[in-house]
Amino acid sequence: MPKDSGIGASSKRREDVRFLTGAGNYTDDINVHGQAYVHFLRSDIAHGRIKSVDTSAAEGMPGVVKVFTGKDFEGVGGIPCGWEVTDKHGAPMQEPPHPILAQGKVRHVGDPIAAVVADSLEQARDAAETIDVDIEELPAVLDMKAAAQDGATLVHDDLKNNICYDWQLGEADDAKVNEVFANAAHVTTLDLVNNRLVANPMEPRVAVAEYARGTEEYTLYTTSQNPHVIRLLMCAFVLGLPEHKVRVVAPDVGGGFGTKIFHYAEEAFCTFAAKACGRPVKWTASRSEAFMSDAQGRDHVSTIELALDADNNFVGLRTNTYANLGAYLSTFSSSVPTWLHGTLMAGNYKTPVIQVNVKAMFTNTVPVDAYRGAGRPEATFQLERVVDKAARELGVDPIALRRQNFITEFPYDTPVALTYDTGNYNGTMDKLEAAADLAGFAARRAESEAKGKLRGLGINCYIEACGIAPSNIVGMLGARAGLYDAATVRVNATGSISVMVGAHSHGQGHETAFPQVVADMIGIDESMVEIVHGDTSKIPFGMGTYGSRSLAVCGSAMVKATEKVIEKAKRIAAHLLEASEADIELKDGQFSVAGTDKSVAWGDVTLTAYVPHNYPLEVEPGLEETAFYDPANFTFPAGAYACEVEVDPETGQVSIEKFTAADDFGNIVNPMIVDGQVHGGIGQGIGQALLENCAYDENGQLLSASFMDYAMPRADDVPFYEVDHSSQTPCTHNPLGVKGCGEAGAIGSPPAVVNAVLDALNSGGKAVDHIDMPVSPSRVWTAMNS
């Protein structure tokens, strides 16, 4: 029986009511009295040296408050990078400055050159058109392999080359790796591209900043997944402001998918300009602006080699990847191709020798950073494509080959720095085979063939690492932040509870799922618990929401704080019941003395905490506890996906006919929300596999600069998905036994789709080894006819 409340119940989302009635409060809905508007004049060339920027005409235009250029920010810090990667020779990564407004050079189309603040947005645009910019155009650095050559044009003149770092993980002894490959019975090699994507949350980015002269306090409203991180980075590294004078609010946020993690120049600009102009300043990105200013995702070019012995056991794996970082280092960009990618190359398999090589490149493109999955989809795509190719080359069943090589004993130390605490990959695959009705595939293929279509089945397995931690380890790996989280459980006198959490909900349903946990622990109605998030003035601290970390990390902090509350409440209850604290039990919101019928209700205890007339003198009044939680390890969700496609052999059009996901997320708090997270991830993964392509031309112009050319998945591009999460191996090291589910779908689905297309083509007699994503009709047709 499904539960109807508490942990495990599909409680309806309480936040839905405001979103369904137009009562949400998104950043662009916020207008501050007297606000001015900023328009950024952005570079329309990819690479050039700024000779002059003449703003004199703009300054005299109607409504103009102030015009800013790079010179106005010379005494101000640049956008920092939050992760210092050490290269394979022990040297720190090359870390070029990232000014708020371009200084000296423009380095990508969209790089902001000047900013006009005016009474209205249209006046700001009018004035920006009169700014005279003289730029000496330079060759655009775009191809990563060419950019790595000696003598290549430099994106950053002060760096020794365009390579941010040359990084390695796993087996450092090349000779040993070579020997494994030399002795292998079979080696499968694959060159592939992980296509560049644009996250495109439906809400474009917005920032509104105000400065109160009297109190010298700033408030920044921004579309962020982690307001505390924005405050810390902006105060400490960019503007040099005292944190206690800066409040950052991320109200309702219309989707993030990674791209709203980062601290952006526009946020710092508005905050800076609010004081400089003496007026609140608002910026709302148009979608066109989002395409050239939101950090983009993926963009890896890789070669992967898999060595197998005569019994088809994986004996070695080697990858060489070029990872595009774009023109500047975005907040967590350096960590994505390294610690979020290389560490995942073992996948679900007990491959004993693994070597991962990554060159991270600067190019004249929009910065690249984490996008849903962040490194893990890139790792999974390589691994699962090469495994699939190996199965085809060897003529073995792709599921059998995977099962044969699964890790089956836990904890398992991988050769690439992780310790998987738990998992059951065969069990999850069993769930997939049943849920996807793989036994019925042959009949479905026959039906498709009768219609003149090719049908293919693609299988994929994935392992994910969520809730990156603990802080002392990530610090050793280069993180410039801790990756714990915090929660305050504030019990009001009448027994209702406000929980201030460091996680930020922008679609994940925290406002519903988090109260389920607290209410369950105390035994009260969920409606008595309210989540407060997204405001640095209301919550103690938080590292925000990304990397599927919220419940595993912040949820654990919330559990710890709730345990402290319960412990204190028990002491008060013991006093009221004149019993020993050790004998007090809490169930269904009642404190009772074990073995007796004496009890006192939750509300009576909470009231006593705030009206401490009859009260234990040694206990402080009030009932509010805070906990910070730093996990002992990552969590490791894993799953197995199956995709069935039909390919129209005449046009190359691919349609997804059936998609099944079997995931192991450990324990689950709200199954409805978990399903929704998986659906969304699959939708984005299908988008990457079939549709989405952020492309630049040879001059660095963005070809897919709007929804007219960047193909977003629509309702008729996807089917209903079958989602099974009954395979559950609870996380061994957090109190809820939860693992995280936000990114799984986006990690697990692209290889399943591509494997399915290749299965369809090969079964139709076309020997096609690989097609790069997006597997568009044009590419499929070309592959079939070459």
């Binding site: 009635t21 137009g22 439906m202 979608r287 659906h679 969304g680 929804f707 977003m712 309702a715």
Partner: protein, 161 residues
């Protein structure tokens, strides 16, 4: 500035606008009806869909002055008179048809327009009709399911938990 008058969610309203003022701007900035969202500038995403004289239109792609004298319906006017969610809104909540909520007003308004002309659409008809409404969160699964449920169809067999 020119005065524009229209009926919005049953109330007569008027305001001064420029020729270039979009209907979405009039609703959001003049009337403070911020439930209508703007998610793109090329008439693709559909977060701004409202009803004009009973038809779904993209309010960020229509001039306010073009709606002079029109009867406009927005997400703020969709709930039942007693404030409870209407059938479509309730189905979206019951079936988790929204996550971040940004595309949701447009989805609800499009769904209402669909069900008006086709009270019992098939899955394929719903997916086709939503061609002009992008959602980045849900993978569309629960949106389609919610609209089927709102039209009185049994959705219990669709990917049960």
């Amino acid at each position: 500035m020119t005065q524009v008058s229209m009926t919005v969610n049953g109330k007569s309203v008027s305001g001064d606008v420029e020729g270039r003022t979009l209907l979405s701007s009039f609703l959001r900035d003049n009337l403070h009806l911020t439930g209508t969202h703007v998610g793109c500038d090329t008439a693709q995403c559909g977060a701004c869909v409202v009803h004009v004289n009973g038809e779904a239109v993209k309010s960020c792609n229509m001039l306010a002055l073009e709606a002079d004298g029109a009867d406009v319906g927005t997400i703020e006017g969709q709930a039942n008179d007693d404030g409870s969610l209407n059938v479509i809104q309730q189905a979206f909540q019951d079936h988790h048809g929204l996550q971040c909520g940004f595309c949701t007003p447009g989805m609800v308004m499009s769904a209402a327009a669909l069900l008006k002309e086709n009270p019992r659409p098939t899955e394929a008809e719903i997916r086709k009709y939503l061609e002009g409404n992008l959602c980045r969160c849900t993978g569309y699964h629960n949106i389609v399911k919610a609209i089927m449920a709102a039209s009185g169809q049994d959705v219990s067999s669709i990917a049960a938990e």
